[in-house]
């Protein structure tokens, strides 16, 4: 039950958390996925983030660049696009408003 609710909430928010992680700087897959994986309740199977990254790239919200790595083979770095920033800004507004509304109902039980 708790799992199902968490999964529902995650489904809508995860892609914007990915965009938020890329807002300040680019990151390579392993790095990005480990941060999400170590954030409580964000991702249950880290591997499922990769299909999401692929979808975000295809929809133009992020882009990839190969960069040489000191330790091994070249790494694929993800960075946010202007389109991604716009989507993130819109979600942020929506989320703040939604969160306030839910908080008001949950905490105060809808009673003024």
């Amino acid at each position: 039950m708790g799992d199902a609710v968490a999964a529902q909430l995650r489904r809508g928010a995860l892609e914007f958390c990915v965009l938020a992680l890329l807002e300040r700087r680019e990151r390579y897959g392993f790095e990005l996925v480990r941060i999400l994986g170590s954030t409580d309740g964000m991702v249950t199977s880290e591997g499922t983030v990769y299909p999401l990254l692929s979808r975000l790239r295809k929809s133009g919200r992020l882009t990839t660049t190969w960069r040489e790595s000191a330790e091994g083979p070249p790494r694929k770095y993800y960075s946010i696009t202007d389109q991604g920033r716009a989507a993130l800004a819109a979600f942020r507004d929506e989320w703040m408003r939604f969160r306030s509304a839910v908080d008001a109902l949950l905490v105060e039980g809808g009673h003024p």
Binding site: S45, Y50, G72
Partner: protein, 213 residues
């Protein structure tokens, strides 16, 4: 394409992923496998123990879940179990037709067994119906066995050459030593042990062109 990561568990994981990813379009498949492979390589570079490798793979999650996340919305993998079942049943039906059955039903049966085994594997990782997959395998085996049974039943009565041989064997073992006209006739044609009773082919008396002493 080989991917020796140097770790047996990691290699097994990638093999499993590649197997599960077969349902994806080719372009998606290559990208997904490459990403996970790079992730594992990065993780292995930091992993200091077998337990750390195990954790890395556990955190990645079940390969089937990853592939499921890569499917287009609503795009479940095609189920081959039903196809296996249909092929197997059709094969078993055609297998009832003597001789043609062997040629047609056995290949159908083999196809059904192969597809059925694949469908069973798919059922384990995707939750597609296991019963249908198993039915496909069973129907495939039946499709292979039925034509052989039918041929085995039809052979002795189906061709003339076989009839004579079969009857001959029966009669030869049952017939008394005396000259039974039927048995003698049949056996005589074959030049069998009773050939002396039918002097048509083998002369019973040695011809002696020996000159008088």
């Amino acid at each position: 394409m080989t991917t020796a990561t140097g770790h047996r568990q990691a290699d097994n994981y990638l093999r499993e992923l590649r197997q599960a990813a077969r349902v994806l379009p080719r372009s998606h498949r290559g990208e997904l496998v490459a990403e996970i492979q790079a992730h594992i390589a990065d993780g292995l570079a930091q992993a200091e123990s077998q337990a750390a490798v195990r954790n890395l793979l556990d955190d990645l999650g079940n390969p089937a879940d990853i592939v499921r996340a890569a499917l287009p919305p609503g795009g479940a993998p095609p189920t081959v179990g039903t196809l296996a079942l249909v092929l197997g049943l059709v094969g078993a039906g055609i297998g009832l037709v003597p001789f043609i059955g062997v040629v047609v039903a056995i290949p159908l049966g083999i196809a059904a067994v192969v597809l059925g085994i694949n469908a069973r594997r798919q059922a384990r990782s995707w939750g597609t119906p296991m019963g249908i997959a198993t039915g496909g395998v069973v129907a495939g085996v039946i499709a292979m066995v039925v034509p052989l049974l039918v041929v085995a039943l039809f052979l002795p009565w189906g061709s003339d050459a076989q009839v004579i041989e079969a009857d001959e064997f029966e009669l030869a073992s049952q017939a008394p030593r005396g000259p039974s006209s039927v048995a003698g006739g049949l056996l005589g044609l074959e030049g069998g042990p009773a050939a002396d009773q039918v002097p048509l082919f083998t002369p019973t008396k040695p011809t002696e062109p020996a000159p008088a002493p």
